[in-house]
Amino acid sequence: MTISVPVQKPTRSRKANWIRGWVQLFFFVLITLIAVNHTLAETGKDIPFLSSVSLHALCPFGGVVTLYQFITTGTFVQKVHQSSLILMIIGLVLAIFAGPVFCGWVCPLGTFQEWIAKLGKKIFKRRYNHFVPAKIDRVLRYLRYVMLISVIYMTAKSLTLVFADIDPYYALFNFWTSEVAIGGVIVLVVTMLASFFIERPWCKYACPYGALQGLFNFVRVAKLRRNIPTCINCKVCDKACPMNIEVSTASIVRNHQCISCMECTSDAHCPVPATIDFVIRGSK
């Protein structure tokens, strides 16, 4: 039985979610400046009043991989500091609140991939982000859990920051230093090239921290709800979603790949007001 829904013309067109772009830009610039300052500090020419800490100290995933060693010995994996644990807790609080907000709003590597995606969209238009056959894509999306488990296991076993050898985030902000691992640079270049065809390829298929954050989509307090009676089934939300999630068929989006970017919402792409929004449980 099909339920007929009164079809309306979209009431207004909305600008994209501009405020997210500014928040992302802010974090990207901040991390870039800190990374540059870290290099300058080694020659004693650092910019005053700006942090010059190592990016390892500003990575919440460092907190995740060091957790085993921290619990068993009270020490941190080489290169990881207590600040990583604090950031891990901050990421956890955000994730419990609304899912992988860190991925969609903060992570500079995610932002960087989105910027390349803008070029990809210009080149490939509607074909962009639809190159990988659905069947293969679905399987590949679980790769990041394999990555998460192997990185945690190998770090616990070796007591060294094994992920640093392939970390594209560290490579992106340290490619000018000798600290960068060649593996990280290779992964970064592959990610950049893939971003011309696929939106956020690293996030979709490989990011171990994204994998962990994604699990919170099943339990997040603020839920992404679609108001079925007002939905006109135009599928604009599906097209807007960088993670190719079929928003238009769900009443509550619980997909493990959602990055809480809000691009599908009525405040961004959905043309009908109050039709798809992040809402706190129990409220309309």
Binding site: T73, A222, S283
Partner: protein, 275 residues
């Protein structure tokens, strides 16, 4: 309640920076292992770091950065590995140079740093030694006074340094363990010329037999077994069978090309778990 993008932006900024500020207020926002020696307060060198305050938790990279000493010079002076010498922690030196019977730990780095940089240092405070290569680096790169030069020349470790250990068979020669490893050495009778680092003797020094369940350069596999470490756990952790009981773990790791500091930490976890 609906969460608008603007509200989400505020939440993100509030939680991220609020979390950092609150943790900083409780002294929990630590982005480095506080690696800043005290500075000289007055005189010609006021404001510069005092090498006497270098700690064992520093890495060679820290010393290089703090005192502006090229890492190549430090690497040459202390036989550091070619791959990532900056990551080597000073506290691992004692174990690396266990064969020398003089202090080649953090105090040696303090001495080297002070002489290299020309910063004030009390040479009489502690008897610190250098490796021959370290002494050469100083003679080549530092402006040593005649008094300092004399000190350096008389504090080079490993040059014709001899000790006299007694060799006795162990109480149970029937164990079938290799002859060299069944000898007990004490420093009183047999002359033994000390070798450079990495050429471990394989002779456990029972004068220093560890009793505190702390894995160090003097720990043997027998110690590990006595502390309750199971050979099968050792195999799972290292992917190697546990070798003969009286061999020094450090010598075994060197022979296998394994990083002793890393192995030491792994084994300490096994020892602690076996309590």
């Amino acid at each position: 309640m609906k969460i608008a993008p603007r509200f989400m932006a505020i939440i993100v900024l509030l939680i991220v920076f609020g979390g950092i500020i609150v943790s900083a207020a409780f002294d929990q926002w630590v982005t480095t292992t506080t690696k800043e020696p005290v500075k000289f307060k007055d005189g010609e060198f006021a404001g510069q770091y005092n090498p006497a305050d270098i700690r064992g938790s520093y890495t060679f990279g820290d010393v290089s950065r703090l005192f502006n000493i090229p890492i190549e010079d430090l690497a040459g002076a202390y036989h550091l590995p070619e791959s990532d010498p900056a990551a080597v922690a000073l506290k691992t030196l004692e174990d690396r140079f266990i064969e020398y019977d003089v202090d080649l730990g953090t105090s040696s780095i303090r001495l080297f740093t002070a002489l290299y940089t020309g910063l004030p240092f009390d040479l009489t405070a502690q008897d610190s030694y250098l490796l021959p290569e370290g002494a050469e680096v100083l003679k080549e790169k530092a402006n040593l006074t005649p008094e300092q030069l004399e000190y350096v020349n008389s504090h080079v470790a490993g040059v014709a340094l001899t000790v006299e250990p007694t060799i006795q068979p162990t109480s149970d020669p029937a164990t079938g363990v290799n002859a060299a490893s069944t000898l007990v050495a004490t420093k009183s009778a047999v002359t033994r010329t000390l070798q450079g680092p990495g050429t471990g003797s394989g002779i456990p020094d029972l004068e220093h037999t560890p009793t505190d369940r702390l894995v160090s350069g003097r720990t043997t596999f027998k110690n590990l077994l006595d502390w309750g470490v199971k050979p099968e756990d050792f195999l799972t952790t290292t992917s190697y069978e546990m070798p003969s009981a009286n061999i020094l773990v450090k010598d075994w790791a060197t022979a296998k090309g394994l990083s002793f500091p890393t192995l030491k930490t792994q084994l300490q976890i096994l020892v602690d778990a076996a309590k």
